[in-house]
């Protein structure tokens, strides 16, 4: 079962349904007992970095999320992915969860913003399990991007600048685009992310 973090950030029906299509049960929750039953945690997110982080702080979820991130594969999607980093600069400087080194800054490009639409993935050669997704189009909607060391970037996309699209640090994964809105390709990618975070987790456990 996959637990989706409930912190009042709008509709997560599509995320839940994409998981269901892959054969996973989901639960939307903010309760520790329920998270403990889950194999993976998904941190969704829409709106701004600051607004999303404020919801987390107000609900006293920061501590619990950090605890969970140390215990299970932990996947952030869209703004949820951005929250994994140390700081965000949307509507002022805000502290993130700090699970992956880096900051979230306004996209610097000569192209139109927001970055809306289907853009193609460039998969890093250091992540061979993702090779099948190279060149595939996925749906992005955002104006801010992660700036993080290359070693954490599984795939990026070109938009007048390189934008990290999938990031991973051990069992922590982040997806900047919307896999739940990226048709079949999105579901297959979600599956890859579930697997690679799980593998990283099993590896850590065996050490």
């Amino acid at each position: 079962m996959i637990a989706i973090v409930d912190y009042g950030v709008g509709n997560v029906a599509s995320v839940a349904n994409a998981c269901k299509q892959l054969g996973y049960e989901t639960i939307l929750t903010d309760k520790k007992e329920e998270f403990e039953q889950a194999t993976h945690i998904i941190l969704p997110g829409v709106g701004s970095f600051r607004a999303a982080m404020e919801e987390i702080e107000q609900r006293n979820l920061r501590g619990l999320l950090l605890e969970l991130a140390a215990q299970k594969p932990f996947i952030g999607i869209c703004v949820g992915m951005q929250l994994l980093f140390e700081k965000g600069f949307e509507h002022g400087e805000t502290e993130g969860l700090g699970l992956i080194p880096g900051t979230v800054d306004k996209i610097e490009t000569t192209h139109l913003l927001p970055h809306i639409g289907w853009n193609s993935l460039e998969v890093s050669s250091s992540f061979p399990t993702y090779t099948e997704h190279d060149g595939k189009h996925v749906y992005f909607v955002h104006s801010y991007q992660a700036n993080t060391p290359e070693e954490y970037i599984i795939a990026s996309t070109e938009y007048g600048t390189q934008i990290p699209a999938i990031v991973q640090k051990g069992t922590i994964c982040g997806i900047q685009f919307h896999p739940e809105k990226s048709e079949k390709v999105g579901q297959l990618l979600l599956q890859s992310v579930f697997e690679s975070s799980q593998q990283a987790f099993s590896k850590e456990e065996s050490i």
């Binding site: 509709n11 349904n17 139109l112 927001p114 739940e180």
Partner: protein, 252 residues
Amino acid sequence: MIAKRIIPCLDVKDGTVVKGTNFVSLRELGDPVAMAAAYSKSGADEIVFLDISATHEGRATMMDIVRQTALHVFVPFTVGGGVRSLDDMTTMLQAGADKVAINSAAVAEPELITKGAEKFGSQCIVVAIDAKRFDDGWHVVTHGGRKDTGIDAIEWAKEAEARGAGEILLTSMDADGVKTGYDLSLTKAIVEEVRIPVIASGGCGSPEHITEVFQKTNVSAALAASIFHDKTFSIEEVKQSCHQEGVRIREA
């Protein structure tokens, strides 16, 4: 590189798609959700629902359609037509729509764009502009083109952007329904004046019209209704034609 988007538009009245009477196979499936799902599977990059119900019940049905679409369609979708207030936006976005399109309500109350963008983020707010050519340029028109607001369409597009619109859905009322191609001069005029994505609409009668609007303007997306509903052309055919002409599209 980002792909140009191809967007079928479904006009929904009281729970039924009203254009596209020749789209027999899907009409028999019965509903907008099935049509949206079929389009999404065949490569549509997004879906737009335009609610043209005039009744309260009709709008309530739309909410249900949105909820079902969120469960069965795995591409982004926009709802427009009946969105007149911040409450309407909340209802549709909570039901699962990715974006809302506001048209005459925004003309009547431009502050609605600002409030919507502040509350939900610019990426959720599409400002739909119906424009018509007059002697002194293009005016924003409402009521299906019958009412001239006197507002300059280019200035209105710029104001929509400044107020936080994430995209502009631009319909040429001169080209709409004529099927002789998009209004290239209007599209170009707007695209060159704003720094947010513009979706061209009105006038599409063949795949060539779609490749043409992408080649001759910097528009981000093209919307069409009848060519898809009438089964004159499929999404695949349109994408193939774009691909052959060197327009970057997403291969489904």
